[in-house]
């Protein structure tokens, strides 16, 4: 059975980015239905669908909405996490650019579910154009009664405020994002209290990813059973995958959860660039442990990837071929975490910096015999020892590259140089 695209089904039609075009394809029908439903039924619908957060953690969306207390007397907030910054990930960018009203509709339905009347979209600063597109869509929605007071002729009010970030990966972590939105440094907060209880402005808050929310209108209109008709039992629905690096056709592609990686790599992305062989890949961005050619038949769903020893993360697959040096790749990835560490915790701030230096000297031919065991120890001393998961990303790179490619590290040290050609000589497809 061929899979019928969901999130991407209107990507061939540029008019869907306008309000008229979106409404012509049945857009905002989910919001109209949601306004006529009890919030508790919307939350139950999300739970029944099994929708899991697409931003990396895979937490059940309906459960998250259900944690929001309704009796505090405080306002509640929906905050859209559009800080997409996990290396290798760019599906939110394309989703919001091509179909901005679906994001607004999903946000409005989430707001209805938790009784929120002001929602925020936190978009990373580098997505300058996407923010302009979204701002235009927000203005259209206000002008046509889909936002503002009495939306769609109901008694429900909703404002959406667009807030631009300024270049900090850590703001994708939800409590850092909330601090940033409050005008503070984007450093993570201690939990508990969780955002559902004390989030934005110390009020009950739901933070949802862009892709997650864009699934919501269809769940309202077509139902939980329809949603579950693709994907796996525990990972229902479809997922956006970004495949990049050494493949013939990089891009954002929507596939049912559970699709074997081989299908994404070979059928969808055209295989490894230049017919070379697969060496390593990240299933969900640079913070998810590397997998290898032996994992090519693993299903792309939360459970199967976990069984293989990694994480589905954001579904960002970066592909390395036989000519790419794992030590160099690890250095580049760990350097990212050193740069993006907010500086709060020592294992992250110092550990990622130190690990970058050691990886650098191994790659540059100055590695010492003690460096490989040192890297192992560093990974162990970073993993799970910091306030948030940022440092775990660095540790995952170190651990997984050593687990699968220890020989390559040792060969660097033994030869006093990189045994592989640098990857930069590859011709770029025009």
């Amino acid at each position: 059975m061929t899979f019928e695209p969901r999130l991407t089904r209107h990507w061939d039609d540029p008019s869907v980015a306008t309000l008229d075009g979106y409404v012509a394809t049945g857009g905002y029908e989910g919001l109209r239905m949601a306004l006529g439903m009890a919030p508790a039924d919307l939350i139950q619908g999300a739970k029944d669908s099994g929708l899991r957060g697409r931003g990396g953690a895979g937490f059940p969306t309906g459960l998250k909405w259900g944690f929001v207390p309704q009796d505090t007397g405080k306002p509640t907030y929906v905050v859209v996490n559009f800080d997409e910054s996990e290396p290798g990930t760019c599906n939110n960018r394309e989703l919001a650019e091509r179909d901005p009203h679906r994001l607004l509709e999903g946000t409005a339905i989430a707001a209805r579910a938790i009784g929120c009347r002001t929602a925020f979209i936190y978009v990373r600063g580098e997505y300058l154009w996407q923010a302009i597109v979204l701002q235009g869509a927000i203005e259209e929605a206000y002008a046509n009664g889909y936002l503002g007071s009495g939306i769609c002729g109901s008694e429900v009010d909703l404002d959406i405020v667009l807030h631009r970030g300024a270049g900090a990966y850590i703001c994708g972590e939800e409590t850092a994002l909330l601090n940033s939105l409050e005008g503070l440094r984007g450093q993570p907060r201690l939990r508990p209290p969780f955002p559902a209880v004390e989030g934005l402005y110390a009020c009950p808050t739901v933070v949802n990813n862009v892709e997650t929310l864009m699934n919501v209108p269809d769940i309202v209109v077509r139902g939980a059973e329809w949603f579950r008709s693709v994907g796996t039992e525990k990972s229902p629905g479809s997922k956006m995958f970004t495949i990049s690096g050494k493949v013939e056709r990089p891009g954002n592609f929507e596939l049912p959860l559970g699709t074997p990686f081989r299908e994404l790599l070979e059928d969808v992305a055209g295989g490894v660039l230049g017919g070379r062989s697969l060496k390593a890949w990240t299933p969900g961005g640079s913070s998810t442990p590397l997998l290898t050619a032996e994992h090519v038949d693993v299903g792309l769903d939360y459970e199967s990837i976990a069984t293989a020893g990694s994480l589905l993360g954001t579904g960002a697959v970066m592909v390395m071929d036989e000519t790419d040096c794992v030590v160099e790749a690890a250095r580049r990835m760990v350097r990212f975490y050193a740069h993006e560490s907010c500086g709060k915790c020592t294992p992250c701030r110092e550990g990622s910096w130190w690990a970058t230096r050691v990886l650098g000297r191994i790659e540059d031919g100055y590695g010492r015999e003690t460096d490989v065991p040192l890297m192992t120890e560093m990974g162990r001393n970073i993993m799970f020892r910091a306030f948030c998961a940022l440092a775990d990303g660095a540790a995952a790179v170190i651990d997984s590259s050593l687990k699968h490619f220890r020989d390559e590290f040792e060969e660097h040290v033994r030869l006093g140089r990189c045994p592989l050609e640098p990857s930069a000589d590859v011709e770029v497809a025009s």
């Binding site: 760019c90 154009w129 302009i132 270049g167 984007g186 990212f336 770029v428």
Partner: protein, 189 residues
């Protein structure tokens, strides 16, 4: 006040009005606004944002120094960002970054070209892994940039042109991009 006066004062008030009861949330867009007026965020800019919000300069500086898109030192009229993170590196981004330096006639570590036109910045993932190697000029995307294309882009900036991005319109420069980032302009006509 030197920065928030006249039109900029009205812009600042529009920004603060987005967050009724939570004015501190306006810090980041106000920093973008000062950057659009001054070309970077100066000490005076930090002080004026603080004064407008009833906070200390130290509190504003703490925020401004946390985020890479606020430039606290003099900055070129155009900012060229080259992503060298893994997805772009696998597609040759290192050579693109080197080509940018050669074409701009800039040393590594030099923040601004001698004529004040360019600032080059090695970037972390810009979220354009599908069109790697990714480059942004004043935060507008240029896709699948080769070293040769990089040199052309720099040459057209030098010639006083603003190269057409792969998606969306091109900001007129770093100041204009900062104004767009403050959320003060919608879809260009």
């Amino acid at each position: 006040m030197a920065i928030f006066e006249g039109d900029a004062r009205a812009d600042a008030e529009r920004i603060v009005a987005r967050y009724p009861g939570h004015e501190r949330s306006a810090v980041m867009p106000l920093l973008y606004l000062t950057q659009s007026v001054e070309g970077h965020v100066s000490r005076e800019g930090l002080r004026e944002v603080a004064e407008l919000l009833g906070l200390t300069t130290a509190e504003i500086e703490a925020v401004a120094t946390f985020y890479t898109m606020f430039r606290l030192r003099p900055t070129g009229r155009h900012v060229v960002n080259v992503c060298t993170n893994l997805a772009c590196a696998l597609r040759g981004a290192k050579d693109v970054y080197e080509a940018a330096h050669r074409a701009a006639g800039m040393r590594h570590g030099q923040e601004i070209s001698d004529d004040g036109l360019l600032t080059l910045h090695e970037e972390e993932c810009l979220g354009v892994c599908d069109f790697a190697p990714a480059v942004q000029i004043d935060f507008a995307n240029h896709d699948e940039v080769t070293p040769g294309r990089m040199a052309e882009l720099i040459a057209s900036l030098r010639a006083g042109e603003v190269p057409k991005p792969s998606r969306g319109p091109a900001p007129g420069g770093f100041r204009h991009a900062s104004r767009l980032l403050a959320g003060l302009e919608g879809v260009p006509a």
